[in-house]
């Protein structure tokens, strides 16, 4: 089960609003390679994983991604705090505002609502870990793209932190894959699915 800690994993203190930037950064909340997708992907995959180290890392990284989702939401919240109607109109944020006012709603920058279709939980540990390694690289590239656009150091600071976490997560999922390999016959890793085919465990 989950507990909540009343602090952000990394602080967000943004003093200047920027609704255009908020519209871009929201992709790391509800977009295809965002933190919500990452969390749901890992937390979903862990149930049928046969190896304790892999259950551990999927649970712990899945949990950390919820904390990252919170940081992204804090960034979007502060970038849009107390906007006037004129600022909303001028920035193009009006399309989001009409449906959500200044409330946070998981969508991609282009407006596509969050969906489970952006991730897979395939029920095979080799496949799932490759999915996870790819997810971390996709998230890193998204943060690279955000960093090219962002000029405000108060925004860059937490974004750089989040990006660095993706690189660490990639390494851990890679190690989890090595552990799965160690538990299988190296002559043929694909002879059976250890999450499903009971007789060959």
């Amino acid at each position: 089960m989950w507990n909540y800690e009343k602090r952000l994993q990394y602080p967000v203190k943004i003093t200047k609003t920027n609704p255009k930037m908020a519209q871009v950064i929201i992709s790391q909340f509800g977009g295809p390679d965002g933190e919500l997708a990452a969390s749901m992907r890992y937390l979903s995959q862990r149930y049928t994983t046969p190896y304790k180290e892999v259950k551990g890392i999927l649970t712990d990284i899945g949990t950390e991604e919820l904390a990252h989702m919170e940081i992204v939401c804090a960034i979007v919240y502060q970038l849009t705090k107390d906007l006037s109607i004129e600022e909303i109109e001028r920035s193009g944020f009006d399309k989001y505002y009409v449906d959500h006012t200044l409330g946070l709603w998981p969508q991609a920058a282009g407006g596509t609502p969050f969906t489970a279709q952006v991730f897979q939980s395939k029920g095979d540990p080799i496949t799932d870990l490759h999915e996870d390694m790819a997810a971390e690289q996709k998230a890193r590239t998204t943060y690279d793209n955000i960093l090219r656009l962002v000029k405000d150091p108060e925004v860059c600071d937490p974004i750089r932190f989040l990006r660095q976490r993706e690189i660490v997560h990639f390494q851990r999922f890679g190690e989890a894959l090595r552990i799965v390999q160690d538990n299988l016959d190296s002559k043929n890793f694909y002879a059976f699915n250890p999450s499903f085919d009971k007789t060959m465990k």
Binding site: E5, K6, L8, Y10, I14, E53, D60, R172
Partner: protein, 90 residues
């Protein structure tokens, strides 16, 4: 940190750093469960973090429901500010 009251902002900085060191150690330990150096590192920062959380709860209100101070006469958990608001000590 014992003789004079540490500021809310400063104590939160320590909690953030101790917690982060612990967090990165946890992920490493998940894939390296027998690594004694990592284990020692985890216990060191976990202990410092727990002590700092108790101190913060006593002085400024709880950051976890489990550290809510039984000496207080009201439910401080819901007090402002909440972490996404960008105010001091978050």
């Amino acid at each position: 940190m014992r003789n004079e009251q540490i500021s809310r902002v400063k104590l939160m900085e320590w909690i953030n750093m101790y917690s982060f060191a612990k967090d990165d150690a946890v992920l490493y330990l998940d894939t390296h469960p027998m690594d004694m150096e990592a284990l020692d590192y985890f216990y060191k920062y976990s202990k410092l973090r727990n002590e700092a959380l108790e101190e913060y709860a006593r002085l400024y209100g709880p950051l976890t429901v489990d550290t809510a101070d039984s000496n207080k006469q009201k439910w401080e958990w819901i007090d402002e500010p909440w972490p996404w608001e960008g105010k001091e000590g978050c």
